[in-house]
């Protein structure tokens, strides 16, 4: 799929990728001279389509891997995510997305996000008698839509890889063609992240909450 490889072990959390992503997709271009500040974009900047978190076990890069047989596509109840064979990418149709969180539940890389702004809506079409006044003005919150890496479709090359100083994100991928990826996926191995992992593609570390820890690690 998409020619981008991810190696979390090389990430130092500088955040340039997020700034480039946010600017490239929705803001000024990276050539405009704006530099990342303290490793992250200013608050009022548009949200990036990838996310870096520094955790006790190391950096975690949440970015779409454009899987060959993506669990998000299987789980999408709205037909909003599809594998685009021509563009070699997993793409989202925002007009179909209903923000149901299914893809968020499925993606082992934590790539899909749903942002919630102050989105409220006054229901239309109902009789006034049926309108409730629980919130004062009868408005109800509205779902957001999912956002994730689009592979910089309109920008020619993945901007995050262009600005990454450590090689954690690299353009050029792993050199495997789509067909070869598919075979490898079927056989239970798939390439990404500068190496191979199980095609039930999980994270490499246990997640931690509170004090309790499950040190799942790698088995098998």
């Amino acid at each position: 799929m998409l020619a981008l490889s991810v190696d979390e072990s090389k990430c130092n959390g500088c955040g340039r990728c997020q700034v480039a992503c946010a600017m490239g997709h929705r803001g000024p271009s990276p050539e405009s001279g704006l530099a990342p500040q303290n490793g992250s974009a200013p608050e009022n900047w548009p949200a990036p389509l990838l996310h870096i978190a520094i955790e006790p076990g190391g950096a975690r890069i949440s970015i779409c891997r454009h899987c060959e047989q993506p669990p998000c596509v299987d789980a999408c109840v709205a037909g909003a995510i599809r594998v685009d064979r021509e563009r070699d990418a997993v793409l989202l149709d925002e007009t179909r997305c209903v923000g149901c969180w299914s893809c968020v539940m499925e993606c082992p890389f934590g790539a899909p996000r749903i942002y919630r702004g102050p989105q409220f809506r006054r229901p239309a079409g109902a009789t006034s008698a049926a309108r409730h006044n629980a919130t004062g003005d009868g408005e109800v919150p509205e779902n957001g839509t999912m956002s994730k890496c689009d592979g910089c479709q309109s920008l020619g090359e993945p901007l995050c890889a262009r600005v990454c100083p450590t090689g954690a994100l690299r353009a050029g991928g792993d050199g495997h063609s789509l067909a070869s990826r598919r075979r490898r996926w079927r056989s239970g191995r798939v390439a990404f992240a500068g190496g191979e992992a199980e095609s039930d593609p999980g994270s490499e570390r246990a997640s931690r909450v509170g004090g309790a820890v499950a040190e799942a690690g790698r088995h098998g």
């Binding site: 539940m105 009789t127 009868g138 109800v140 779902n143 039930d200 999980g202 994270s203 309790a212 799942a216």
Partner: protein, 393 residues
């Protein structure tokens, strides 16, 4: 030339069709569907009621899906029974359809108890026509009560609220979401519903209907009270549509299948909401009726039907929903047994958020996330790894 017959045109059926056609370009595929619509997403029906999904977006494939897949579609016709000796499917009009490989992807039907099911103003929510009926009444301003505090009931309540109605939710359990959440998470969800105008009544059940000359006037409740309403939507689970094979297979809950989606009858496979598969967290065989299972099972069934053996990875119960602005995801084993000596939980609470991770023998086996759910996918991967290395109990 192989003869494939698929009964049911929803997630499992269409996934199987795609897979079979990808592997066998010439094989003869016949689809039998009780409904007259081309394949659509049942899960979107509450969003359609909400007014957020236009009618045409209920359909997930383009109009020429059947012709592209070279499927002979028999629409609006019910498959009544199969004859496993002659390998035929009998349709309600008496026609016999021969098969070599058959997929039962018939899904489920709303479970509506006894007398309630006879009332014209009582409905389930499973099909486009159910949704159309509910939506029409909502837009007329009719008061609608919902029986059932599970996923469908809550999603319907949210959808109706978004459409401007003020539904009431009648839940027999002490809390909503009793199958998939603990009390604390459920209470957060209940508060959210109430805050935005959905009334939730717990610990009470619908006893009967009160009819007047103009139709339904209300329902009577198990606590002796009554609730005025013009329509009642019953969302208390679904029962598998195992009718066509019920003379041949024990289908108490669903049709049990092996890892290749085989039913035990020669050449007969099952997938989706009608199939009983192994729950990775407990080892038990259950109907785990969620969309991603239906798609995965349909695909696996299709591969095996087309002669490419592949095993199903097993089912992991999980659900995601949005409750009027509050995201909720639960996965895996949620309820810690009373004598759960080797079980452990970790709970984190924040403003508007609740996260509970459930461990067994130090391994993550379940999670309930409210308000803050972005890590759910990684947690699911971890739960799957745990399940993979735990012996079925």
């Amino acid at each position: 030339m192989a003869k494939f017959v698929i009964i049911g045109a929803s997630a499992a059926g269409t996934a199987a069709i795609r897979e079979i056609r990808a592997l066998d370009r010439e094989g003869d595929i016949t689809l039998i569907s009780e409904e007259n619509h081309r394949p659509y997403s049942k899960v979107l029906l509450t969003q359609y009621i909400a007014g957020r999904v236009p009618f045409q977006n209920l359909f997930l494939d383009d109009e020429d899906f059947f012709s592209r897949m070279k499927v002979n579609a028999v629409m609006g016709t019910k498959a009544v029974r199969i004859d496993p000796d002659r390998r035929t499917v009998e349709l309600e009009n008496g026609r016999l359809v021969p098969y070599e490989r058959l997929l039962l992807a018939t899904g489920g039907a709303p479970s509506i108890s006894g007398d309630l099911g006879q009332d014209p103003d009582v409905t389930g929510l499973r099909t486009i026509s159910d949704a159309e009926a509910i939506k029409r009444r909502a837009l007329e301003g009719a008061a609608i009560a919902i029986s059932g505090g599970g996923l469908v009931g809550i999603k319907l309540a949210c959808g109706l609220r978004e459409a401007g109605a003020t539904p009431e939710l009648i839940v027999s359990s002490p809390h909503i979401l009793s199958q998939v959440a603990d009390d604390e998470a459920a209470i957060l969800a209940e508060r959210q519903l109430e805050m935005y105008g959905v009334r939730v009544r717990t610990g009470v059940d619908v006893k009967g209907v009160l009819r007047g000359p103009g139709g339904l006037e209300g329902i009577s409740l198990s606590d002796g009270g009554t609730l005025p309403c013009r329509m009642l939507a019953v969302c208390k689970g679904v029962k598998p549509n195992s009718g066509p094979v019920s003379n041949h297979l024990p289908a108490w809950r669903g049709v049990r299948v092996d890892a290749r989606m085989r039913t035990g009858l020669p050449g007969v496979f099952a997938a989706g909401d009608v199939a009983e598969t192994q729950d990775l967290t407990s080892g038990e065989f259950r109907v785990l009726a969620i969309w991603p299972h239906a798609v995965a099972q349909g695909r696996i069934a299709g591969r095996n039907m087309a002669g490419r053996p592949e095993n199903y990875a097993g089912s992991l119960p999980r659900n995601a929903l949005e409750i009027l602005g509050l995201p909720f995801i639960s996965m895996g084993a949620i309820h810690v047994p009373a004598k759960g000596g080797d079980w452990d939980v970790a709970i984190e609470r924040g403003p508007g958020t609740y996260r509970k991770l459930i461990y067994r023998r130090g391994r993550l086996v379940g999670a309930v996330l409210v308000g803050s759910v972005l890590e759910a996918g990684r947690l699911q991967a971890e739960i799957r790894r745990s399940a993979h290395f735990s012996p079925a109990v």
